[in-house]
């Protein structure tokens, strides 16, 4: 075994600590900066220990309203981002699990045509179809709405293919046993397919939540009102071209706040889907 001797253990630990430092230090530094006043930040060097302005800064950002983003507070931005990320994650999962269910378990005319259509959309990322999509949203009066923020990002070929692959591994006998047991298509889906897919759903949820949370281009286009911005857009707007105009301490606070929800989702869901992985193992 590697790592039995003392020296190799020390080397392994050093490597890991170095890695953690590289990854974690910028985040720590951001946090430190978020607890100092603007004056301290603008007068280098920045201290390496947290300052005394933690509550003042966070209170101002969360509830005070920030001039650079039109007087909206970060709380509103967080809420917007959460709604959008949740909407995209849940919407993508619902749509893709249903379409995968249809493609795998039903025989209908044009089944393969639909499958290939979905497959082909993999090659069309949001950016490619962004102008027509924007036009549609304008015509439907969906600018500055959650619907407009969420719906165009929901269609997901990747998730559909993922569920399709998983459904194909479900033995035919299980489907037949359910038929003999009197489970119709809906019951089979609800009682057997969904519980068996729990692991996949959890994993996808994590990935898709973060995908939704970090969206930039589409929310930038489809929102005009300041109170409909997501936190990523808000963050970008808070940094103005003139350095003196930027309230760096609030930018740092917003950065930290923008990181927290995805981290929470990963931490919470990861434990859940690892447990799921172990349990559904045959």
């Amino acid at each position: 075994m590697i790592g039995q001797s003392r020296i190799s253990r020390i080397i392994a630990h050093l490597a890991l600590i170095l890695g953690i430092l590289i990854v974690a230090f910028p985040i720590y530094y951001t946090f430190v900066a978020s607890t100092h006043s603007l004056q301290t930040i603008l007068r280098p060097p920045l201290p390496l220990l947290p300052g005394k302005e933690f509550f003042a800064n966070y209170y101002q950002a969360l509830f005070g309203g920030i001039g650079q983003i039109g007087g909206v507070n970060v709380w509103t931005l967080l809420l917007n981002s959460t709604i959008v990320a949740l909407g995209i994650a849940v919407g993508k999962i619902v749509i893709s699990i249903l379409s995968a269910y249809a493609i795998v378990f039903f025989r209908f005319p044009g089944r393969m045509v639909f499958f290939w259509l979905i497959f082909i959309t993999l090659m069309l990322p949001v950016e490619v179809r962004i102008l027509p999509t924007y036009k549609v949203m304008v015509d439907l009066n969906l600018i500055d709405t959650y619907t407009g923020l969420i719906v165009p990002l929901i269609a997901s070929a990747t998730a559909t293919l993922l569920f399709r692959q998983f459904f194909l591994t479900i033995p035919g006998e299980l489907v037949e046993a359910a038929r003999v047991d009197g489970a119709g298509p809906w019951r089979f889906f609800k009682d057997i397919l969904l519980p068996l897919s729990a692991t996949n759903i959890a994993a996808l949820f994590v990935i898709l939540f973060i995908y939704g949370w970090t969206q930039y281009l589409w929310p930038l286009l489809v929102t005009n009102r300041n109170d409909m911005n997501t936190i990523v857009i808000g963050l970008r707007k808070m940094i103005s071209f003139a350095d003196a105009d930027t309230q760096w301490h609030l930018v740092m606070v917003t950065c930290i706040l923008a990181i927290v929800p995805p981290v929470l989702v990963v931490v919470f869901m990861q434990r859940w889907f690892v447990r799921g992985l172990v349990e559904t193992e045959k």
Binding site: L174, E176, A177, R179, V180, G182, A183, D191, I192, E281
Partner: protein, 354 residues
């Protein structure tokens, strides 16, 4: 309490492949019918057609006098035990058994009573809170059986239910299935490729080959009077020795004249003579029969009996000897098979009486 009737049942797949080529079987109430045959003979397809999992392209299947061609599997009042058990992996044993009942809208306490009763019959009471992956193969098999019996169906369908178990457990479960089927008195159709299972379980044995029924009858009748060379070689282990005479068969052709040299007269039309390994006696005997000398090539001692593999007139023969054999490879033994124990088949492989 039901009969199962198949009339001219055929299965033709989209590509024109014909899996079942016209089968008529009538299964009596409370009896256990075993469909046996090599893989690809259409036995599983036939079972799945009775279950309603495959459409019947021609002919009719009826359960209890009602034609069920257009009836869905859940409404046919059948229960099926699958080869890989097909238990719902995320459900506890209790829920696995209760699921079908819940889907039928049965009352909770009635479900509870039925599941508990079935669990008791199958000695699963202590396992009701486990999940399938926490069970051994034999226990999973029992749960699959339990799921079938709680339903109290008209017909049980078994699709090679024992093929995933080890030999010892298989023997045990075979006896249990037989006892259970007798106790519950439910008409059953059982598919297997194992001739031993087929022989021991069946009230009515159906031997299938290439999508057609070769022979239907009681197991011992089939054993004693196989209708064709296929049945003769499929039922019985080791299989019947088949001596090709004029055409066919694996050995060098043997003419009828050769046979009479061996002290045997055969009915007209005979091209193949069959002898069960246990019907061959050692030594010189008087009377009409097949007399020849066997050159022993290998001896297989099984314990209670031994099998001698050897050749006689270039024909390969297997002889069953009770107890241990003192013969060594290379020995030449006189052997004799009385004419009454011989089976005669014509050029089409069909049985010829005489």
């Amino acid at each position: 309490m039901a009969t199962v009737e198949l009339k001219g049942v055929r299965k033709v797949y989209g590509g024109g492949v014909e899996a079942v080529k016209g089968v008529d079987i009538s299964i009596a109430d409370k009896s256990l019918c075993v469909l046996v045959g090599p893989s690809g003979c259409g036995k599983s397809t036939l079972l799945r057609m009775i279950a309603g999992l495959e459409t019947i392209t021609h002919g009719t299947a009826s359960i209890d006098g009602r034609v069920v061609n257009e009836v869905g599997p859940a409404e046919r009042d059948i229960a099926m035990v699958f080869q890989n058990y097909a238990l719902y992996p995320h459900m506890k044993v209790y829920d696995n058994m209760a699921y079908g009942l819940r889907n039928r809208g049965m009352k909770k306490d009635e479900i509870d009573a039925r599941v508990k009763r079935a669990a008791e019959t199958l000695e699963l009471s202590a396992l009701l809170d486990r999940r399938p992956r926490e069970l051994s193969g034999g226990q999973r098999q029992r749960v699959a059986m339990g799921r079938a019996i709680v339903r109290n169906p008209k017909v049980f369908l078994f699709d090679e239910p024992l093929s995933n178990l080890d030999a010892k457990l298989r023997g045990q479960m075979r006896v249990e299935i037989k006892n259970l089927q007798r106790a519950l008195e439910v008409t059953s159709v059982y598919v297997t490729h194992d001739q031993l299972e087929a022989m021991t379980l069946a009230d009515q044995l159906v031997v299938m080959n290439g999508g057609l029924v070769e022979q239907i009858g009681k197991p011992l009748d089939i054993y004693e009077k196989p209708a064709s060379t296929f049945v003769a070689s499929f039922i019985g282990a080791p299989p019947m020795n088949l001596l090709g005479t004029v055409t066919g068969g694996k050995g060098a052709p043997l003419t009828v004249a050769d046979l009479s040299d061996l002290g045997l007269s055969v009915p007209p039309g005979t091209t193949t003579v069959g002898i069960r390994p246990e019907d061959i006696e050692q030594g010189d005997h008087a009377g009409e029969g097949l007399k020849t000398r066997l050159t022993v090539e290998a001896v297989e001692p099984v314990g209670a009996e031994s099998f001698l593999h050897g050749t006689a007139n270039t024909h390969r023969l297997v002889v069953r000897v009770p107890g241990r054999s003192i013969a060594e490879p290379g020995a030449v033994l006189p052997i004799f098979a009385p004419r009454a124990k011989l089976h005669f088949f014509d050029a089409n492989g069909k049985r010829v009486e005489g």
